[in-house]
């Protein structure tokens, strides 16, 4: 889907020996948002905004290696390799050795001659890399000004990581009047370099200024239009993570140095085979134990606590995304982890110096079809009529931040009804759940309402699968744990025809084997992804496990 922004000029950071000015250009197509203040916690702000930048540009999807150079080399060496296997190997090897010596000499000369060229080329590529780094940013970050906090939100390129930097107003001096609301800000990679120059002996002013576009001056920078075509899957990922924040789960309180230890372990080791998960072992009354698979390294967090009331094992994947928190460790005072369940999103809330950094990780780094079946986070829950929804929204719009109880009291509604409405708004990207304050905040992700019907499902099969689960068409569900992974079996009723389905998931929850008797599977096997019956079985299994975990 296409997002359109119009900025007046561009965001700028001005630096001199005694001051730094950060001026963000807001989207002029949205309701004006205004906030100008001096930052009084310079270094924490610098580190937090730098960590946010790391999330914006992070892309941990696996890329196919380029084998072309190797193939070319292999082709050039083919003659020499063949010679080794021929009968007259000795004679030929002698000849080959002489030729190779000659070739080596030629290559050395070539190396010497081309070295300046390669050096220059590398520098050129470095330059291109630096100048095109803005292309790494998928969608401009969102800034929200509320009466008590200002927060920045972003989502990574690889559709898997959500980050939010939330600053209390106490982190600012010399605040003037401000206008609350949400807007996109013009953001470029060049700003990152400028952020690094923030020091506490220099005044740093943050400005999200609306007056710029009301005055036409001689040096008019003009409007800059951005049209960004964002894949539906990206927006869906963002909404899924946002919606997941409001879900109940287990809460872990870690010491900042525990996070350090996690990062250290990941930095020092490299996994060559799966499963690539952190397995949290939660036992009541005992500190959190994190086991890093496949090495089996256990990190005990002695100063930690958790909310599990019975022994739990929760596994989360895509752990290398935690490395984006490295810069914030030194400033962190508390680390709170929200675990929704195995293979479900997790949230890492790091607080320190009046700043709160929330890192939301989707179930896996790559939300590809092999993990399909995790799409129900955007599924409909409790239904509320349009009038009630509007009332809830208007009440929240008056207060900007409310807990369901507060909102119920303010709007004269049952808190449960209020919460179900808020969940709907969270799924639509209009409201965000603040994990730190345990409250919902008003935040319109986009100027125009997002087409949720279009975004809810990745394809028609997912939609049909959700319908089957909702209609109770998945029967005889059996989940059988194996040494690494599990087997799901079910009988899916598709328009009167019973489809026996069998899925084998590996330790990384990847679908490694499956069978169904439907036409789609018979024709395509798994080349085009699982059929709706498999998706329905997996979804039902996921819900059953989630239900068990909640109980």
């Amino acid at each position: 889907m296409e997002f359109q922004y119009r900025y007046y000029g561009e965001s700028r950071v001005s630096n001199d020996a005694s001051s730094t000015g950060i001026s963000f250009a807001p989207d002029t197509l949205r309701k004006p948002v205004h906030f100008v203040a001096d930052i009084n916690r310079h270094l924490p702000f610098r580190e937090a905004i730098s960590a946010l930048h790391d999330v914006v540009v992070s892309d941990l999807r696996t890329r196919q290696r380029d084998h072309s150079e190797y193939q070319a080399w292999l082709q050039s060496q083919e003659g020499a390799l063949l010679a080794e296997f021929m009968e007259r190997a000795g004679e030929l090897q002698g000849q080959a050795k002489a030729v190779q010596a000659q070739l080596g000499e030629v290559q050395r000369r070539k190396q010497a001659m081309l070295a300046p060229f390669w050096k220059a080329r590398q520098r050129y590529f470095d330059h291109i890399y630096a100048s095109d780094r803005s292309l790494w940013i998928m969608l401009d970050p969102v800034i929200t000004v509320h009466p008590d906090r200002v927060f920045f939100e972003c989502f990574s390129r690889d559709e898997s990581t959500y980050a939010s930097v939330s600053c209390s107003h106490e982190a600012f001096d010399h605040r003037g009047e401000f206008a609350c609301g949400t807007t996109n800000i013009d953001y470029s990679a060049a700003l990152y370099d400028e952020f690094q120059k923030i020091r506490d002996y220099k005044t740093t002013r943050l400005a999200v200024a609306a007056e710029g576009f009301t005055v036409q001056t001689g040096d008019d920078p003009g409007f800059v239009e951005h049209k960004i075509d964002v894949p539906d899957s990206w927006v869906r990922g963002f909404l899924q993570v946002s919606a997941a924040m409001a879900q109940p789960g287990h809460r872990l309180h870690l010491h900042p140095m525990d996070l350090h230890n996690f990062c250290l372990l990941l930095r020092r080791r490299k996994e060559k085979a799966g499963p690539r998960a952190i397995r949290f072992e939660l036992e009541p009354g005992k500190p959190v134990r994190a086991v890093f698979e496949p090495w089996g390294v256990e990190v005990v967090c002695p100063r930690s606590s958790h909310t599990a009331t019975e022994p739990q094992t929760i596994r989360v994947w895509g752990r290398r995304r935690l490395l984006t928190l490295e810069r914030f460790i030194a400033l962190a005072q508390t680390v709170e982890v929200h675990l929704l369940g195995t293979g479900l999103p997790s949230f890492w809330v790091v607080e320190g110096s009046g700043l709160r950094f929330t890192l939301g990780l989707s179930g896996w780094t790559a939300n590809d079809w092999s993990r399909a079946g995790q799409f129900d986070l955007l599924g409909p829950r409790k239904h509320a009529d349009a009038l009630t929804r509007e009332k809830v929204y208007q009440t929240l719009a008056q207060h900007w931040k409310l807990t369901p109880t507060e909102l119920g009291a303010a709007a004269g509604l049952d808190p449960q009804v209020a919460e179900s409405c808020l969940l709907l708004f969270a799924e639509a990207g209009r409201v965000v759940y603040d994990l730190g304050d345990r409250a919902y905040r008003l935040r319109e992700l986009s100027r125009e309402p997002l087409p949720l019907d279009q975004l809810r499902y990745g394809n028609e099969r997912e939609e049909r699968a959700a319908g089957m689960v909702a209609a109770g068409q998945v029967g005889k569900l059996a989940i059988q744990a194996q040494a690494a992974g599990r087997v799901i079996e079910a009988l899916v009723d598709d328009a009167g025809r019973k489809r026996p389905v069998r899925l084998v998931l590996d330790g990384d929850e990847r679908l490694v084997e499956a069978s169904c008797q439907c036409d789609y599977f018979v024709r395509n096997r798994l080349y085009k992804g699982p059929c709706e019956h498999m998706l329905a079985a997996r979804l039902a299994a996921g819900r059953q496990r989630a239900g068990q975990a909640t109980q």
């Binding site: 690094q196 900042p256 140095m257 250290l264 930095r267 100063r303």
Partner: protein
């Protein structure tokens, strides 16, 4: 709504459809709308006239355009077939006498019933009018077949005396079949009034809405009513169609309607029977158009079902029925088997063969109409196929050539003699050749050639109108053998033949005309034919004509017709000769004047669809501006002004160039006539309009600096190129004009380039022809250019900078220019830095270090190292250096600061540097902690974020960590307050931090605990258990 639409079609390799129609305009006038496009694609419509015309004028224009398009190789889609002249049927007296004698009582008595019917049929075939009295006598014998044949023969023979007999038979005939044929015969013999009365009776019985629509005579309304299901509630449409056929004999409107209906009548149960009856009625009347249309439909429409043998059954509506029983029922659910189809296809050829072999004059029009039905565009393309053929012993593979219409019986029967180039299968439904069929002139291949020779007019019409290549070849070959007839063909028709899209036809025309040219003594006649040849679309004909022209260009230049034809030729090679010919024509009195008049006439009639219009107009533009300028300058100025409104862009452009060349000054043109052209969106028109503008008096133009600047910066390169000479001429004349122009040009340089190449062009102007004006720009402009973001502005700025001496620019600007894109500018700025170092000082130079160019930074660093002693650096300056984004500057700062810190001075700088996020600087700070940090707790507290940052680095910064740990442990050992601070720090880190550093933290905490027991370290030391030794 369009009215009177005429559809034309140009067959050949690149077929083209074209429709011409009148369309009413809002003001009461009419547009002539010309739409054209390839078959199967949407037509592109355009107006032929530039303003609405009165109806008569619009119709005249329409007719002229149709004639021009026919000359251009188009053919009409609907072509009437000439009626047969009954007086010239070509049946011999001997044939007639033989037939009459067999009808006499004596011989008649001896004939069997079938022989009698066949004899009567033959009489009718040959239209032996003398036999009618005897035929009337034979009526009402009780034999239905004989009565049917008698009615058929009497109707064809055309003796009005038998009219009453036919009327009676149509009422009292023994069977429906006989009554129907008798009615057709009566209609054939009836007078026009009687036919009209009959038609009126029929129409009176039609459904009311249909009758009303018919009386209104509006085709659109009629079509609407026909398509409406409510119209046919109690009526059958198929029956109505038979009535329409009879009405069409009296009312022309019904004729076209009938043809339209028959073209789409489904051959299915309920309607096929009507098609068959109408086919036989057309055969009876000799109505070639309807007959040929249905005959072709039988060939093209596949059978609805397969009827293999007698007694065959078919499952219909849940039960089995015998096909033969079902077929004869009035409400039959079956129709059009493969047997029926084959019979009807073969019946068509049989009819033609019998007529042709009997020498009937009816054969050529029927065959002509049949051949006109074939269209190459609708046929499968030629292809070679392999077939397995049983040769008696084994199967052999045979390559066969399937040409277009190889599956059309009549096509092959009419065009190829048996035993000739092609061979057919058993049913003559599919034909093949051993190789591709010839498309050249040569020996004739068709049967019944002598019949065709009797009607060369039809051959000519086939050559002009047929859309099938083999038909064209046949007609061309046949016409080539008719020199006497060809001698009477008009020049207009020769032009059409020469422009035929089919090579064989054009070759025939060329061969004939070439011979005539060689033999013709009249020079004027020869040149008229030569003019036709040069206008041909076929390169070979043009080349031959060119050879004739090049033999004596001067001699041919005396003919305005020929000169005009060469100028308007479609082929570039011919037009190339036009300049030489025009040069020679200048010497001939009156030729140039006559030629330009003809050109004007041609331009009036040209339209955007005219072939090669643009190159022709380009050539003419050159001609009227050069060779023919004297004659072109004298033409009617009003006509040229009229061409400014022409629908075709190339003509408008030519008109503007012509107006410039005209002896009447451009200033005499009313501004309203060219003002819209200056706002045209077409860049060609705009470029020509600029040329026209340039011909206006200079005082007028000098006031138009803004307009000219707008053109000079137009997105279209052609427009920019057109205006540039004018702009430079005016700029050279008047400084005020130039001053008005310069801001617009400079503005382009400052902006981001949106039009590719524009900035380069403007730069070339500003540094070339307008260099003087550029150099006269104020200093501020140069400064803005140098500091602008646009690359073009920087280039112009650096070029202008060459005109300034070093001293003319302030030092602050030179500092900024060290960051300039251009190397030369940077180097000059660096040289200025070096020369003016004393005036600038370190603070003046430091901003220049924020420079992305390595060369500039390197030079500046070298300069600073050489000119500033280490002791002269101030602390703030050193911090700036160390805090710098570039590593080389940072290294310089660290090196300078390191020396001072080692001496224990400038420790505040260390505090500032401790906030740097870079690992390198953190390491630097760690190295100097011992020397520079004061021995107090406050310093440790201030540095706490630094310590935490360094010690929390994940898997990196080992050296810095070690240095910091050592430092902290030393300080802890030195004083209790410091130990308290360090203990807090270590406790935060120690308990959970990874194994690598844990030992050091615990050792540090242990030291503190040992040294200062009062400090809570969170460390509990348990004595190791002592193992007792037995």
């Amino acid at each position: 709504m369009a009215m009177g639409a005429i559809a034309l079609f140009r067959p050949g390799a690149e077929p083209l459809r074209l429709t011409l129609a009148l369309s009413p305009a809002d003001d009461g006038g009419y547009w002539v709308v010309l739409s054209q496009g390839a078959p199967g694609e949407a037509l592109v419509a355009l107006h032929k006239n530039n303003s609405p015309l009165p109806l008569a004028a619009a119709q005249a224009l329409l007719e002229r355009t149709v004639a021009a398009k026919l000359d251009d190789g188009f053919v009409g889609l609907e072509s009437a077939v000439p009626a047969v002249d009954a007086s010239a049927l070509g049946v011999t007296a001997a044939q007639q006498a033989g037939l009459l004698s067999r009808l006499e009582h004596g011989q008649w008595r001896l004939l069997a019933a079938r022989q009698r019917s066949r004899l009567v049929w033959r009489v009718g075939e040959l239209r032996v009018a003398a036999a009618v009295p005897r035929l009337v006598e034979l009526l009402a014998t009780g034999d239905a077949m004989l009565d049917y044949c008698l009615a058929w023969a009497i109707g064809r023979c055309g003796d009005a005396g038998a009219k009453e007999a036919m009327a009676g038979l149509s009422r009292r005939g023994g069977s429906e079949m006989v009554k129907r044929m008798a009615l057709l015969a009566w209609l054939q013999l009836a007078s026009a009034d009687e036919r009209a009365a009959h038609a009126a009776r029929l129409v009176g019985d039609w459904p009311l809405p249909l009758r009303e629509a018919w009386q209104a005579g509006e085709p659109a309304q009629l079509a609407r009513v026909l398509a409406d299901a409510d119209t046919w509630q109690r009526h059958k449409r198929a029956e109505w169609l038979e009535q329409l056929d009879q009405v069409a004999l009296a009312q022309p409107l019904a004729r076209q309607l009938l043809l339209d209906e028959l073209a789409q009548l489904p051959f299915a149960a309920g309607s096929f029977r009507t098609a068959r009856r109408l086919y036989k009625a057309a055969e009876f009347r000799g109505d070639a158009t309807v007959w040929a249309l249905l005959q072709r439909r039988f060939e093209q429409t596949g059978a609805a079902f397969h009827h293999a043998y007698e007694g065959q059954g078919r499952y219909l509506d849940g039960r089995w029925v015998r096909i033969s029983d079902e077929l004869v029922r009035q409400d039959s659910r079956l129709a059009y088997s493969q047997r029926t189809r084959r019979y009807l296809v073969q019946r068509g050829w049989r009819t033609l063969r019998r007529l042709g072999s009997a020498g009937s004059a009816e054969f050529p029009p029927l065959a002509f109409a049949a051949l006109l039905q074939y269209d190459d565009a609708a046929a499968k393309p030629d292809m070679e196929v392999s077939r397995s053929v049983w040769d008696g012993r084994r199967y052999q593979t045979r390559r066969e050539y399937h040409y277009r219409h190889h599956d059309a019986t009549l096509f092959n029967r009419l065009l190829f003699r048996p035993g000739g180039l092609v061979r057919g299968n058993r049913h003559a439904s599919s034909w093949a050749a051993d190789q591709a069929l010839p498309v050249t002139l040569g020996a004739r291949l068709e049967p019944l050639a002598e019949r065709w020779d009797q009607r060369p007019d039809l051959l000519l019409r086939l050559a002009l109108e047929s859309r099938a290549e083999q038909v064209q070849c046949f007609a061309a070959r046949a016409l080539a053998g008719q020199p006497a007839y060809c001698a009477g063909i008009s020049d207009t028709l020769w032009r059409r033949l020469l422009n035929s899209p089919f090579t064989a036809t054009a070759q025939f025309a060329y061969d004939y005309l070439f011979q005539r040219i060689a033999a013709e003594p009249d020079r004027e006649r020869r040149e008229a034919w030569l003019a036709l040849l040069v206008g041909s679309r076929h390169p070979a004909i043009c080349d031959a004509a060119l050879a004739l022209l090049e033999a004596d260009p001067a001699g041919h230049a005396s003919s305005p017709t020929l000169v005009t034809a060469v100028l308007l030729a479609r082929t570039a090679r011919v037009r190339k000769l036009s300049r030489l010919l025009c040069q020679a024509a200048l010497a001939m009195p009156g030729v140039a004047e006559a030629t330009v008049q003809r050109l004007l006439d041609w331009l009036d009639d040209a339209d955007p669809a005219t072939e090669a219009l643009e190159p022709i107009c380009d050539n003419l533009a050159w001609l009227v501006s050069n060779t023919f300028r004297p004659a072109a300058g004298k033409v009617d100025h009003g006509r040229l002004q009229g061409l400014l409104q022409h629908a075709a862009v190339p003509v408008v452009c030519l008109a503007m160039d012509w107006l410039i060349a005209h002896e009447q000054p451009v200033s005499s043109l009313p501004p309203a006539s060219y003002r819209p052209l200056l706002q045209s969106e077409d860049e060609r028109v705009l470029a020509a309009a600029i040329r026209l503008l340039g011909a206006l008096p200079e005082p007028v133009l000098l006031t138009q600096a803004e307009l000219i600047a707008r053109f000079a910066l137009c997105p279209a390169a052609t427009v920019r190129q057109a205006v540039q000479p004018l702009m430079l001429r005016l700029a050279g004349l008047d400084a005020a004009f130039l001053a008005g122009l310069m801001p617009s040009l400079l503005d382009v340089v400052f902006r981001a380039e949106t039009i590719v190449g524009l900035q380069d062009e403007v730069l070339a102007l500003l540094t070339g022809p307008l260099a003087q004006a550029s150099r006269e720009q104020p200093y501020d402009t140069t400064q803005r250019l140098l500091e602008a973001r646009s690359r073009a502005a920087q280039r112009l700025g650096s070029w202008l900078l060459d005109g300034y001496s070093d001293a003319e620019l302030p030092l602050s600007l030179w500092v900024r220019l060290t960051r300039h894109e251009t190397l030369a500018v940077r180097q000059r700025a660096l040289a200025m830095m070096a020369a003016n170092f004393a005036a600038l000082g370190v603070d003046g130079l430091l901003p220049a270090l924020a420079n992305r160019w390595d060369d500039a930074r390197g030079a500046l660093i070298a300069c600073l190292q050489a000119r500033v002693a280490a002791a002269d650096w101030q602390m703030a300056q050193l911090i700036q250096l160390c805090d710098h984004e570039h590593a080389d500057v940072q290294a310089l700062g660290c090196a300078l600061l390191g020396g001072r810190l080692a001496q224990g001075s400038d420790t505040e700088a260390l505090m500032a540097l401790a906030q740097h996020p870079s690992l390198k600087v953190q390491r630097f700070v760690a190295d100097y902690l011992q020397h520079a940090v004061a021995d107090d707790v406050a310093s440790l507290v201030r540095l706490r974020p630094y310590f935490l940052t360094v010690l929390a680095q994940v898997n990196r910064g080992r050296a810095a960590k070690t240095a910091v740990l050592d430092f902290l442990r030393q300080r802890a050992a030195a004083s209790e307050p410091a130990a308290r601070e360090v203990a807090t720090l270590f406790e935060h880190l120690a308990v959970t931090v990874a194994l690598t550093d844990r030992a050091q933290y615990i050792a540090g905490l242990y030291d503190i605990r040992r040294r200062y027991p009062a400090i809570a370290t969170g460390l509990a030391v348990h004595a190791a258990a002592v193992r007792e030794v037995a």
